[in-house]
Symmetry: C2
Amino acid sequence: MDKHQSLHAYIKEELLNRIKSNTYKKGEQIPTELELCKDFDVSRTTVRQALNQLTMEGYLVRKQGKGTYVAEQKVKQTLSHTMNRYSDQVANQGKKAEVSLIQISVVPANELIEKHLDVSTNDPIQRIERIRKANGEPTQYEIAYIPWSVAPGITKKQAETSLYAALKDPFGVPIAKTTENIEITLADEQISTHLECEEGLPCFYIETIAENEAGKRIEFSKSYFRGDKTNFTIERNYPIES
Amino acid sequence: MDKHQSLHAYIKEELLNRIKSNTYKKGEQIPTELELCKDFDVSRTTVRQALNQLTMEGYLVRKQGKGTYVAEQKVKQTLSHTMNRYSDQVANQGKKAEVSLIQISVVPANELIEKHLDVSTNDPIQRIERIRKANGEPTQYEIAYIPWSVAPGITKKQAETSLYAALKDPFGVPIAKTTENIEITLADEQISTHLECEEGLPCFYIETIAENEAGKRIEFSKSYFRGDKTNFTIERNYPIES
């Protein structure tokens, strides 16, 4: 046990190992607080601290009067914003994917948009606000900005199927490269409403700039993912350094 | 203004736009609460809520009796665990990179390690606990697990320069592929001690499995990054879908 590690942190790590190693299986009930007290020979307060933190982090679910259960797998996502890929990813996890459009509006470019897209102040920008769901549960809240001059008159249908497919055809500006910037943010009222979580929940915040072959910036988007329900996987092959 | 958006969320977004567009510059003082109240014609409580959230998220820094300042750039990192790359990245931001070893110990494989490496229960595993710093500030707390059988007797020097370089030479197991899994976790006592932050701070938690050319799993690591001081950038080129 690490000298810096408190007892509840140690027990949290032990429980997390049991979850990650499937000793405690997804969706199944774990031992009661009292059983865990005996098991680890610690106080109920200590066990509760560990359980509370694992619950906040989305590994455990407390069910009123029923006990504590291992949460279902977080929705795994590769870092991709194309609808096809998203639905494939979700389908591969045996879940139903859908995108619902909140609204498409046209807004004047502000400093932030000017910084990320090749536009001038007050140029008309299409603001496309969407929610992505897996099995009806919101997983992603996204606001995409696309200049009117680049792809005029994006439709509801295009926004709810694949925006990237539409940018390729009919708009003729296929996306060739994306640059994503990932930070952690806290859900404000707007985000928590759309992701159906409490305010203050830590969320992934991703800003994406999408370019075409020529390096022209086509789309800037802001996406929010519930931190307790999302994990991202990144696979990379790379040359060995000497 | 979005119908779901509260006043303080709206003001937070406005201030964030000014920060991201460099209207408010890194390291500079922003207007006082009173000035912002006038500017937005809202109550001090509302301004304070917005400022508090931006401070929690690491965009602003409150200085006792001095006012509120825009935080320095978060440490940008590409998702890479090789020391060379890390120091390059940090150097490119004009900061000094260092790795300090907390300890190398040999531990018996537990379920979690068995799940991620090709080992059996109680096989000897080298546990390498390190902290990465930029300009003396801790940015990453990492625990790497490498089977004794794969690379026996890893030294302090190897751990503090580049583990991946050492795995290539002298150990002859160069890393060819990594799979990283990114989640959000909350700093426990151990993490907060090493990252010098308060307990409960949202952090990036990354599990990495590193394989050699033959697909043999060489290293499993757990890394923690302060959420308020880290952002990750991912660039991807991809074929257009039809």
